[in-house]
Amino acid sequence: MAPNLDREAEHIKEKARKDLLALLESVRGKKNVVFSKELPGIVGLFVGFSVLREYGVEKVFVLENGNTDSSQRNIIYIVDGEDVATVQAVAGQVKQLQRNGNVEHEVTIAWVPRRTLLSNKILEDEGVLGDVNVQELQIFFLPLENDLLSLELQNGFCELYLDGDRSPVYVASRALMQIQQRHGLFPRILGKGDNARKLANLLVRARKELDADEANTPYTTMPSTSIESLIVIDRDVDFATPLLTQLTYEGLIDEFVSIKHNKAEVDSSVLGAGSQSRPPQGSTTIAPTSVSTRQSLKQTIQLDSSDPLFSELRSLNFALIGPSLSKLARRLESNYEGRHTANDINSLREFVNKLPGYQSEHKSLAIHTNLADDLTKYTRSETFNRELEVQQNIAAGADPIYQHDTIEELIARDVPLPNILRLLCLESTISGGLRAKDLDTFKRQILHAYGYQHLLTLDCLEKMELLQSRSSASALLLPVGGGAPSATGTKTNYGHLRKELRMIVDEYNEQDPDDVSYVYSGYAPLSIRLVQCILQKSYLQQLHKSPLPLTPSSTGWAGFEDILKSAKGPTFNIAQKPNDERVSKAKSALAGSGGIKYVFVMFLGGITCAEVAALRFVAKKLRDGGQRRKIIICTTGIVSGRSIMESLIQSETLASGIKAA
């Protein structure tokens, strides 16, 4: 019997925790731990730092800070082993420690998520391999929520689309293989996009390799009876969606404050420290960053389902946050009022027992009220609304030329560069490039307004085909209409898909949305529509009005093949057959068909919070429709337009070296 998939997230967490603690235990006595940059946050997802202390950890360092000291004999490095620079930094530091410390250090290196040949070679070349204990800490998927597994690769997006480095696809395949080894094969792998296809190939290949592995037994090669399929969506099929500003509560927090590993750093005022001392509302043209650069104390808050209030709010459209908060406040108040009606000892005791719950709810209500208030400052600002207007016009297919004046004005008003680039890239992505003349003008304006170092930024965007001129070769190949000759588009044709998949929903019920488009206030993400092509065929048919080639028993991509030719990359559907048909039949007969079927949806290159909300919405619709299906979302990482742009934008100026000197 395969383990329960509902507890998969828990299982992964528990395993990671156990492995880490075993690692700490394997080094006797007190020790210092050195993490590479991203790891403290990642480790924080499954183990508290106070627990590390219990296991003898005295001090924690970050590798990149280079301040590891000799205060303990035992030093454990827990570092990312995939990155050459990190490996070299470790080797350098170990050598340093050996040279100058008067203590003889006992160094252990644990590579995450695996020990690589490269790390071996570098350590060997540096002559430290023999002096250190090497281990590996296999952490692949990290559960952010029970239905959300992320690899938390911070550079995943750049690696895939800028560097052409497919490591994220490989790591994803390893992570999904772990799922397959525990629960059986995905009976069907569906997907869209080049990297998605590569991932599927790797999975098929990994299965073959597993067959050849000595350690394997033939029992894990059966298709799972509890998993229905794996749907892989490559981010580059739909670059437009993350470029739009997310309009769910969680999405907006990620856009403006940034959420990392379920945590966000906010002004301490949000925690209610001094709400009265907060500065008055800024000018109407206040730029979003001017607040975040304000000198103030930052504090970390946890944003996940451990806060019941947040799980209620996170997926709502921001427009509903105010009313929801006041409703919650009223509910809480009436709960508190309960003490007056408690007139005997029993009901009073009941009330007192509930009190801690009310109090924590109260605290979290205060936090979210303050946070929402802070966000409102941005969302009410004139520039934000101008940006939003441009985004929505472009997404709706209005002629982008009419937006150019606004974009130019925003540049002149020194709106942060990421926001500008998002608008331009959005236009380029949706309408297949900018006119060469316009592109040149914008480039000049950007270089003037933000500095010549952004020649590099612009080159990056162009290389990724996020920002390009309409005349460039790849834009010419934009497949037109449903009758495109080739089965695989080289570019996504939003114009065609917008119509066919009803991506723009003009009238939707804000109070009780009935379509995923609410997450972008009227725009349904293409990525989500793709998933719906598989999971909600009849719903899309209903939207589409004219009949699609669908039958009630259609599965996979059936009915949408022609439409999908207008989206970039190959569309595929692979069935994973068991090695032994008979055994598998017997097994599935035993398992019966009444159980819940799980659908894994893997977003390569990252997913936005709004898309997560949309997928959860789809899952809810399925559940409401009486289907026994659940969705588990997997991704290489959570992205937002902000994080994407930040990773692409050149952060240094021509005077960086001079200033540093």
Binding site: S26, R28, G29, V84, A85, E106, T116, L117, L118, K121, D131, N133, E159, D163, G164, D165, R166, S167, Y170, S173, N201, L202, D211, A212, D213, E214, T217, P218, G282, S283, T284, T285, E382, E408, A412, R413, D414, A436, D440, R444, Q445, L447, H448, A449, Y450, G451, Y452, Q453, L455, L456, D459, E462, S469, T653, L654, A655, S656, G657, I658, A661
Partner: protein
């Protein structure tokens, strides 16, 4: 059928019985003089290693080649292999749990032999072992500790990647004896060493050496029980002490009354101790009781987890405590188990008494059956095993409900045990050893002994995977087989066809190690796992194939590994040629070079004729320069690369780089001319430069920047407006307002100024916003607090409703004014 008396050879030592089971007879060649050899045996009845004791004089024999070596025998005396040894005196020799042979030389070199046939990995102890010399070593299941001449202790706790670690410094003085507690049995989970120094014992681990405060030494022998809980000490005056390994309790004492000290002390299981002299053995049980065994010739003792094997030239025996179930079943009392056992004999005689005794013990029959089953597992004698099982079978046939699982399992286990105990194989495992060793490792042992057929049969019987056996077989095949490569490949592939989980990489490696490169390549093509192929391919110098396989695997680590290898090995041009044909590899080289090796990147772009990227690298370098002039120089270099390029992007780059240079020069000049509290101008963008200049009151200079860079009018106005507002230069804003037209309209002026809190100035722009609707202008007036003005606007627009709402907003004198306007509009009655 007559059975050997099951109690033959039992000795009572204290309350317990001990027995010696003869395992094999005539095990060694008659010429082999065991007295001049050391013997070390692997745990779980594993192989025996014999090597010559160099301190003993041996008879010189003309026909014997006097070379040093280590002979590996099975317990039944079958020679498995001869291993050459030329590293000088052997100072330590032992076995790991997985039957790897460790040999430590005096200079600290040590070899880990795996697979019993002389394949080894060499390592070195380091930590000054070369100079101090190794004195001797103690072993545990996964490691060993070496004692050096200068009383230093070096521990090795893994044989896969040995990392010799220095233990804490030992105290001064002669070490009379020493032993170790394996990591699995210590609190610290790392090895602890017991050193008998002076009259006490020290416990030494990684961090400290602690005196246990004993005073009855010197102790001439120290030994720790297999479960790590007890230690035995042998005092100078011939006494044996059994104490807890934490030295808190003393459990028993025995006076050996021996004049000569025993050669060694071993534990026999966890509850008795064996003192071994050349030809005499004392078994000391709890409470100081002892039994003595005498031999004609030298006897070697090989301790195991549950007893000791006694090796003489003639025989191999196993001495252990009689297991409880055996004792119970063979006990001469009227108890259920013995009755059940005896009833079989009665049954065979067709005596009705059989049934009678059944009825008599019926109440305890289930336990009796169980005892018989378990006792069968303890026996080596087949007839006795059968008899016990038959008794159990008879017993359970009488019972109404009885699960036969245990019975069936024991039958299966005994079949396995009997098969491997055969003298041809020579693995006399006890049941306890077998259950600790586990079936899969037993199979591995068989593979190492090249008992492939038996291994396959047993694996099938035990439902274990067969792949390792096939791979090992094939590896030996390719090593040993003559004939041309194709035919060998054919034999191997044919034999392994359709088999599950075969690692062709391992087989290919064996072929390659044997020097048959071509065969290795042929075999490697059958390997499905790209990751496995790559390192071997690199060894074989099949670089391009290795790169292709690595790319195929999709694993960046593998690709980078190969690339690193190639970069170190190939000339640069060849390297680029190899890489450029493979886009994914090229992408990786590019992205890693970007972080590591800018020069390589430049070369790459140059060779590829990608001037824009090349100039980008220089632009990045420019940003690292610490002098303005150096930045400018780099920018020049960058633009020089673009001189011949024609494509539009290159043109923009060239132009921008030139502009950047001009800007830097202007900024440098501003820094000299202007003292400005907010720092240097260098590094600012064009717009930022203008902004700062205007804010600091240097509008003329800002204008120069605007014309130099042909900044668009709209932008220029916006920058001016923002800068003036930021500096609160209201006068200048008013000046601007005197212009007839603004390219950005007047609304921004109103908004920005209002945002900065100057309602008076802001309101002055409202009348200029002529294109706005009255309603919007009314709103603007209201924001400035000028309700009257709003009212006028409404009046002009004849908007009565708005006026009425304005009345509510109005205060003081405004109210009357609004009323007046309302009355103007309101139709006269």
């Amino acid at each position: 059928m007559t059975l050997a008396n099951p109690r033959a050879g039992w000795e009572k030592i204290g309350p317990e019985f001990y027995r010696k089971i003869p395992l094999y007879q005539n095990i060694f060649d008659e010429d082999l003089d065991l007295s001049s050899y050391h013997v070390a045996g692997a745990p779980f009845s594993g192989a025996l290693a014999l090597w010559r004791d160099t301190t003993k004089v041996t008879r010189y024999r003309t026909n014997a080649i006097s070379k040093t070596g280590i002979d590996v025998y099975s317990c039944s005396g079958k020679l498995i292999s001869r291993i050459n040894w030329d590293k000088g005196a052997i100072k330590g020799l032992g076995w790991s749990e997985d039957e790897r042979l460790l040999v430590i030389a005096e200079d600290g070199t040590f070899h880990v032999y795996f697979g019993l046939h002389g394949d080894f990995h060499p390592f070195s102890l380091g930590h000054g072992a070369e100079d101090a010399g190794v004195v001797n070593c103690r072993f545990w299941s996964h490691g060993f500790v070496a004692l050096l001449g200068n009383n230093t202790l070096v521990a090795v706790s893994s044989f896969d990647e040995p990392r010799p670690r220095l233990l804490s410094a030992a105290p001064e003085g002669d070490i009379h004896a020493w032993s170790l507690i394996p990591p699995a049995h210590t609190l610290s989970r790392s090895v602890e060493v017991l050193l008998a120094v002076g009259s006490t014992v020290y416990v030494v681990d990684v961090s400290e050496a602690e005196d246990r405060g004993l005073s009855d030494g010197p102790f001439k022998h120290v030994s720790v029980s297999p479960n790590g809980r007890f230690a035995v000490l042998f005092t100078d005056d011939g006494k044996v002490w059994v104490v807890g390994s934490d030295f808190q309790n003393k459990y028993s004492e025995y006076d050996s009354k021996a004049k000569t000290r025993p050669n060694n002390i071993y534990w026999c299981g966890n509850d008795s101790v064996v003192l071994a002299w050349e030809d005499e053995i004392h078994v000391v049980g709890p409470e100081g009781a002892a039994a003595k065994y005498y031999y004609d010739d030298i006897v070697h003792v090989v301790p195991d987890i549950d007893g000791v094997r006694l090796i003489t030239s003639q025989s191999c025996e196993f001495l252990h405590k009689v297991p409880d179930e055996s004792e119970e079943v063979f006990k001469l009392v009227d108890a259920p188990a013995p009755v059940l056992f005896d009833s079989i004999e009665l049954l065979e005689k067709r005596s009705p008494k059989a049934d009678e005794s059944m009825q008599r013990i019926k109440a305890n029959l289930p336990e009796a059956v169980e005892t018989c089953i378990r006792a069968a597992g303890q026996e080596f004698d087949h007839a006795l095993q059968k008899q016990l099982l038959r008794a159990a079978s008879f017993g359970k046939s009488v019972l109404d409900l009885y699960s036969s699982d245990e019975f069936v399992e024991m039958c299966e286990t005994l079949r396995v045990l009997n098969a491997v105990r055969d003298y041809q194989v020579g693995l006399p495992l006890t049941l306890a050893q077998y259950s600790q060793l586990r079936p899969d490792r037993l199979i591995t042992r068989l593979i190492h002994r090249r008992e492939y057929l038996l291994a396959i049969k047993l694996s099938e019987f035990l439902r274990l995977p067969l792949n390792k056996i096939y791979v090992h077989w094939a590896s030996q095949k390719v090593k040993g087989a003559g004939g041309d490569d194709d035919s060998v490949r054919e034999v191997v592939v044919e034999r392994l066809k359709g088999k599950y989980g075969i690692s062709f990489e391992a087989i290919a490696r064996a072929a390659y190690d044997e020097g048959r490169g071509n065969l290795a390549t042929l075999l490697l093509n059958h390997e499905p796992r790209a990751g496995k192929q790559v390192p071997l391919l690199l060894n074989m110098e099949e670089d391009e194939v290795a790169l292709d396989k690595a790319i195929e695997s999709g694993d960046s680590d593998l690709i980078m590994f190969v690339l690193l290898h190639l970069k170190q090995k190939l000339p640069l041009a060849t390297f680029f040629r190899t890489v450029n044909a493979r886009p994914q590899a090229a992408a990786l080289v590019e992205s890693s070079a970007h972080n590591q090796d800018k020069e390589l990147l430049k070369d790459m772009y140059y060779q590829d004729d990608r001037p824009v990227e090349g100039s980008d690298v220089l632009l990045e370098e420019a940003m690292q320069q610490t002098q303005v002039q150096a930045v400018i120089d780099k920018l020049k270099l960058a633009s020089r690369l673009l001189t011949d390029a024609k494509d539009p992007n290159a043109v923009i780059h060239a132009k921008s780089l030139a502009e950047a240079t001009v800007l830097l020069k202007m900024q440098e000049a501003f820094d000299k001319e202007i003292t400005d509290s907010s720092g240097s101008y260098v590094g600012l963008s064009v717009n930022e430069t203008m902004f700062r200049l205007i804010r600091s009151g240097y509008s003329k200079r800002a204008g120069r920047v605007q014309s130099e860079f042909k900044v668009a009018e709209k932008t220029w106005w916006w920058v001016r407006l923002r800068a003036l507002v930021a500096a609160r230069l209201w006068g200048e804003i008013e000046e601007l307002g005197k212009n007839r037209k603004s390219p950005i309209g007047w609304e921004p002026f109103y908004n920005e100024v209002l945002g900065a809190g100057n309602t008076r100035l802001a309101s002055s722009f409202i009348p200029k916003c002529t294109h706005l609707k009255p309603a919007e202008r009314i709103e603007m007036w209201i924001k400035c607090g000028l309700v009257n003005k709003a009212g006028e606007e409404a009046l002009a627009a004849k908007d009565l409703d708005t006026l009425e709402t304005l009345r509510d907003k109005a205060t003081g004198a405004q109210v009357a004014e609004i009323e007046r306007m309302i009355s103007k509009l309101r139709p006269r009655r």
